[in-house]
Symmetry: C2
Subunit: 114 residues, 2 copies
DNA sequence: CTGCCATGTAAGCAACTCCTTATGTAAGTT
DNA sequence: AACTTACATAAGGAGTTGCTTACATGGCAG
């Protein structure tokens, strides 16, 4: 039993593969069919299909069927979560806002003691 | 033969594990020894040790040995690369800088044709 | 209906991940 | 010296990933 991994882990895992990142890069220029996405790669179609499934599970693409073509479109919402996590741990927020917070508290105490 | 994965893939893969993300979160409050990092988790010490090695290979932590203690410190540089990739694919940059790029290329061509 | 085309699914395999227990290794303690 | 502490590494196993080939599905063209 696997015990489904959380969404953030799914997204990070999806992005850990260069082929999948290349697929996403490609989709940045607009949606494409599975065949178009497979073309630039040396790997087989089923392999690409499996990559697409991983990306879909991570919420990074959306697949809509029209006739025998599957259209893939980029979805960037999961990247917002990733971005939030990353920024939180880069200290863009922190070491600045935490210090600011502390500074404010100091000033408050000082003002209180006057 | 594995064929060493690129650094960005290493970082994404390292971040795909909740335990490792928790370790990084913990390190945000300052450096810690391997033992301190292992304590909050139910898994064995060797398991934590292996997680630390993955994080080290990804460049996300630095381990320095002093006596029999291994001190782990957070390194955020790899997160900058991740952040750049993410932002690039979120369309924060894009729709602005790609257009600028294209515009520059147009101007260049025009200048060449003169 | 028959056959092609685009794609997904199934089965199988090598390689990797993540955990375990057992065994180093190096520094401090008695 | 023997013992403990703090960690790493080794070996092994269950589960997952990423690829392959072979087959199934479903729309379309003759």
């Amino acid at each position: 039993m696997a015990g489904a991994p959380d969404q953030l882990s799914l997204v990070f895992a999806a992005l850990a593969d260069p082929t999948r990142r290349a697929i996403l890069s490609r989709l940045r220029q607009g949606s494409a069919t599975a065949g178009e996405l497979a073309e630039p790669f040396q790997i087989s179609r089923p392999a690409v299909s499996q990559h697409l499934r991983v990306l879909e599970k991570a919420g990074l693409i959306e697949r809509t069927a029209s006739a025998q073509w599957r259209n893939c479109t980029l979805r960037t919402e999961p990247l917002d979560d990733v971005s939030a996590w990353i920024d939180h741990h880069r200290g863009l927020w922190n070491e600045r806002f935490d210090l600011l917070d502390e500074r404010l508290r100091e000033l408050k105490e000082k003002a209180g003691n006057d």
